[in-house]
């Protein structure tokens, strides 16, 4: 019996070596493991084995069976694909999707805006969110007790530090740190104690931009911002520049884009106020520059038709995945 088993094994090895296609593997399987297969036949002989050898022979047969099964399984995987092996192909079976994550739409918006400014030679810089009165107000020409501060309500720490209410703080830090010429943008979180509703949040994101150069003019400001808005909203975008007031720029401007029949305010900007240059130690007589600030949420809401600012911070996967 043992001889028969080892003969069969050798025979199988030779056959297997020649089984080089899926069809041949299948006939190999039928030849050995099928209902009338060679191994199946050997199993039928097990009854003729003396009882004292039965256990050992049975184990040996099982070992061979397992080896044959593994060999067939392996052979199937290795066999080159032929048209016949596609018989069971069902073209309507759904694909197995890789897991799908998403980058937050606010981050995508920041990256997109930053990329446009990078092309114009602006560098992304950052500054702290917990700030001093100096960087958030004084250096930005915002008097401590003045109605112009109304728009800039702030969160305070017990030590009198505050959460920055605008990313303009970063331009102060960079100007104190470096010499002109400068072209920077500073994206980041800002905080104002506004009651949360569909269009307000106590935390939101801004991108501040600053260019400082001896020859920078208001017409440069117009050119840079118009180009930016065209790149972001399309070359057909109509915009208008409307005089406004910000303590840290003069002349100051609000930029509107045409939206349907009306105009929508999209960003604030202006030539840097000489007082700001004074505060950071630049010579205000010869230094010129312009700054701009825009709300990331507002732009994302407009571009994607998002109707409630709270969606951004609730992080419902049904929201996040729409922008995957």
């Amino acid at each position: 019996m043992n001889d028969q088993i080892s003969r069969l094994e050798n025979e199988a090895r030779e056959d297997l070596a020649r089984a080089d296609s899926a069809e041949k593997i299948e006939s190999f399987r039928v030849a050995y493991l099928g209902k009338k297969g060679k191994l199946t036949e050997l199993f039928k002989l097990l009854g003729t084995v003396p009882p004292e050898e039965k256990k050992a022979v049975g184990a040996e047969l099982n070992r061979l069976k397992q080896w044959l099964e593994e060999a067939v399984e392996k052979g199937k995987g290795n066999a080159p694909r032929t048209d016949a092996s596609r018989e069971i192909f069902d073209e309507t079976l759904p694909g197995i999707r890789p897991p799908q994550g998403s980058i937050h739409i606010l981050q995508q918006t920041i990256q997109e805006i930053s990329a446009i400014f990078h092309r114009m030679g602006f560098e992304t810089v950052e500054g702290p969110e917990i700030e001093t009165e100096f960087h958030n107000f004084t250096a930005l020409n915002i008097p401590l007790d003045h109605p112009s501060r109304d728009a800039f309500d702030t969160f305070y720490t017990p030590q009198g530090q505050l959460l920055r209410s605008q990313t303009s703080t970063v331009q102060i830090r960079v100007m104190k740190d470096r010499k002109p010429p400068l072209r920077i943008i500073a994206p980041g979180r800002v905080y104002r104690p506004d009651t949360v509703d569909a269009s307000h949040s106590f935390m939101f994101h801004q991108i501040e931009g600053l260019m400082v150069d001896s020859g920078a003019t208001f017409s440069d400001l117009k050119g840079v911002l118009h180009l930016f808005l065209r790149e972001l909203f399309g070359s057909q975008t109509k915009i208008r520049f409307r005089p406004h007031f910000f303590p840290f720029t003069e002349p100051s401007v609000e930029v509107d884009i045409q939206w349907g029949k009306g105009w929508l305010e999209i960003l604030g900007a202006g030539s840097v106020d000489p007082n700001v240059f004074d505060e950071v130690g630049y010579d205000k007589a010869v230094t010129r520059g312009f700054a701009f600030g825009l709300g990331v949420e507002r732009i994302a809401m407009l571009r994607h038709g998002i109707n409630d600012i709270r969606h951004f911070y609730e992080n419902d996967l049904r929201f996040l995945r729409q922008f995957a």
């Binding site: 994550g101 560098e123 506004d194 949360v196």
Partner: protein
């Protein structure tokens, strides 16, 4: 503020359509938010929004003045009382005891009013501006406020004790009953109008109940004054009382309008109230003067700032139209002489000269040449300034390497199936330990809501909130990350620190069930895999791990990953207590990676490494060892014994139970032998492999089993 175009017509000729005027104003910086047409009586209203630097626009006269400037029209003045030939009210006195708070105070005593009906045009105009008619005298004060911008106050003269008006600070503990009936405790820094007895008004903010005008009032003391803007603002904010008056006083009223407003009101009261007697004006103090009365402006300043050449004649015209007093200078010639055509361009600019510009009392915002440049640009029209692009200097624009790393991590984690969240930096103390988590956290003294008192020292509660929100909405798996700052207050009161951090939280299933694969729950090791991959993508090598504890992690199963001994990340399983608090049924695995620390060891530009060209030989080591022996130690031991021939050791199986004795585990390692210098033969490997096996038996009492 609402502006009635009917009313504007008293001062300026309006050429319709009104929508055109509204747009002109908007493009000159006086924003008309809405233009609405009324019938009965027919009128067009402008809803205007003013910037804090232009309180002079807070009246019809002021808006008319702006229209006259932008449209180049002439401006009419309101009809005033001549205020002549009258005698001062006998016995009445004004004492300013706080000149800083009130530099200028005036009043008139009007006695024996006989008519009480407010004429229809006043009622209608007030109504158009959303002010209800109350009685003739109050209506007239409101009318004058909306017309010329000067807030007035009318006292019932019979209720003023001692015929005396004092402008003073409150007395210690003095109380005051506001017109709306509320009693307030006055602050030492407030400013009150008082008679000989008590406070009768909170200066510039609100009148008092006790001296209010009523329908029986026949005799009126009419106040018109200038109050210090900062003081009015502080008082108004401190008591949370604001009014049309305080809104204007805190933005600064035109000192000249103090007299104009009073005369205007007297003229109207005389005409419609038919009083028996009007006194001469009594005054105290002086009108405050502008700090800067004139500004010197050079032509080239305009060009340099705006990037466009506005003709000198146009500059002078614009400034004149704005009501400024312009005097031209030309250097090297007499005033008025221009020599634009015969000089070279460099001298031309100088020759185009400069101006001395006198500033009227209603424009205290104009103090520097740049302020005039803005005025010129505004009226010249922003739309007429060309658009240019500045030349780009040949400077490289570097990128902050941490921001590049953040972007890389975002792409990696989102590509691996995680969604990026953005949550608030402010958190409540829920789920955080007052000692371990909040002792060095940054506190916010004026949180807005929900006890969001803390600048978060960890993202764990923020991300638990996101998981709960999504689970409640029906999600069975939530795999998220966030990149933002955590905050800490260093000891010694130093400025708080902010650390850019990437947090990851996993909940639910790693893979969803499909027709091909089975579902599987996420495990701690999935999280560890993400963290390791992030560290690898940053180019961090030489890592080791150590067990740690955190208040929000389950007692066992939290660890820290160090790079060159610096802890850069930690991860663990969120404690059952927190899961219960957040009502979550499945475990949550949470990690934080400090991007600042990671940056210290990140490899910015990866260097190419040659891989071995000689074939590798794989050998497995399947061993049984006590549970207390750590797999990492065994791997290090194997690698260390490899005589430099081991390229890689990996764990490919971990098994407990069945034939493995109690308290032991079966670990299977695959060891890849490869030499950078030669082709290894089986015997080389066998020798090393056996030595390793022996060493493991001696050192860790492992036993080998199997085939």
């Amino acid at each position: 503020m609402k502006i009635s175009t009917n009313w504007l017509k008293d001062f300026v000729t309006l050429a319709p359509p009104f929508a055109r005027i509204a747009e002109r104003l908007t493009l000159a910086g006086l924003e008309v938010k809405k233009c609405e047409t009324l019938t009965q009586p027919s009128d067009t209203l402008f809803e205007i929004e003013i910037t804090s630097n232009r309180p002079d626009w807070l009246s019809h006269w002021g808006v008319a003045r702006e229209i006259a400037a932008v449209e180049n029209l002439s401006l009419k003045n309101p009809v005033l009382d001549p205020e002549t030939g009258r005698v001062p009210p006998p016995g009445w006195k004004i004492h300013i005891k706080d000149a800083a708070g009130c530099p200028y105070y005036t009043g008139v005593l009007i006695e024996g009013i006989t008519e009480f009906k407010t004429p229809d045009f006043i009622v209608n105009r007030l109504l158009a501006c959303a002010i209800r008619s109350i009685n003739l005298v109050v209506d007239i004060t409101n009318y004058v406020l909306l017309e010329v911008g000067q807030p007035l106050h009318a006292f019932d003269a019979d209720l003023i004790q001692g015929k005396e008006i004092q402008v003073r600070k409150p007395k210690q503990g003095e109380k005051f009953t506001v017109i709306n009936g509320a009693q307030i405790e006055l602050r030492p820094d407030d400013l009150v109008i008082a008679d000989s007895d008590r406070a009768v008004a909170l200066a510039g903010v609100m009148g008092g109940k006790d001296s209010e005008i009523n329908e029986r009032t026949r005799n009126v003391f009419l106040e018109s004054a200038f109050f210090n803007p900062g003081r009015v603002r502080k008082t108004s904010r401190a008591h949370q009382l604001s009014s049309e008056s305080s809104y204007r006083f805190e933005r600064r009223v035109d000192p000249e309008a103090v007299d104009v407003g009073r005369s205007r009101a007297v003229a109207l009261i005389q005409k419609y109230g038919k009083p028996r007697h009007i006194s001469a004006v009594i005054k105290a103090g002086e009108k405050p003067q502008l700090e800067v009365k004139s500004i010197h402006l050079r032509f080239e300043e305009v060009t340099q700032v705006l990037g466009v050449e506005v003709k000198p004649s146009q500059i002078a015209l614009i400034l004149t139209r704005l009501g400024l007093h312009v005097k031209q200078h030309t250097s090297g010639g007499s005033a008025g002489e221009t020599a634009e055509h015969s000089r070279s361009p460099s001298t031309l600019n100088k020759e185009r000269g400069s101006w001395t510009v006198g500033i009227p009392s209603f424009r205290p915002d104009l103090t520097r040449p740049i302020d005039l440049v803005e005025e010129i640009a505004r009226i010249y029209g922003f739309e007429n300034i060309p658009e240019t692009l500045p030349a780009r200097p040949p400077l490289s624009v570097g990128e902050n390497p941490r921001l590049s790393l953040e972007r890389k991590i975002r792409y990696f984690l989102s590509g691996a199936g995680l969604s990026e969240a953005v949550t608030f930096s402010l958190v409540s103390d829920e789920g955080l330990d007052p000692e371990k988590d909040l002792q060095h956290a940054v506190r916010i003294v004026n949180p807005l809501q929900h006890g969001l008192h803390w600048m978060r020292p960890t993202f764990v509660t923020s991300l638990l909130n996101v998981i709960r929100k999504n689970v409640n909405a029906g999600a069975d798996s939530v795999q998220i990350f966030e990149i933002a700052n955590i905050y800490g207050a260093p000891a010694g009161g130093k400025h708080p620190v902010e650390e850019r951090t990437c947090a990851i939280a996993l909940y639910g299933k790693k893979a969803v069930q499909s027709w091909l694969d089975a579902a599987r729950a996420v495990t701690f090791y999935d999280l560890k895999g993400y963290v390791e991959a992030v560290l690898t993508s940053a180019g961090c090598q030489e890592r080791c791990v150590a067990k740690i504890e955190k208040s929000y992690f389950a007692g066992q199963g939290a660890e820290e990953i160090r790079v060159w001994q610096t802890p850069v990340a930690f991860l663990g399983e969120v404690s059952g207590e927190l899961l219960k608090k957040w009502d979550l049924k499945e475990p949550v695995f949470y990690a934080e990676i400090s991007l600042e620390k990671l940056m210290e060891h990140a490899q910015k530009i990866p260097a190419f490494k040659e891989w071995p060209r000689y074939p590798a030989i794989e050998r497995d080591l399947s061993l049984v060892v006590k549970e207390s022996v750590k797999s990492g130690d065994l791997m290090r031991e194997i690698q260390g014994m490899g005589e430099g021939l081991i390229r890689e050791v990996s764990l490919f199986d971990l098994f407990r139970g069945k034939r493995v004795p109690e308290g032991c585990k079966n670990l299977a390692f695959r060891v890849v032998y490869q030499s950078p210098e030669r082709t290894l033969v089986s015997e080389d490997v066998q020798k090393v492999h056996e030595k390793i096996a022996q060493s493991l038996v001696q050192k860790y009492q492992v036993s080998f089993q199997g085939r």
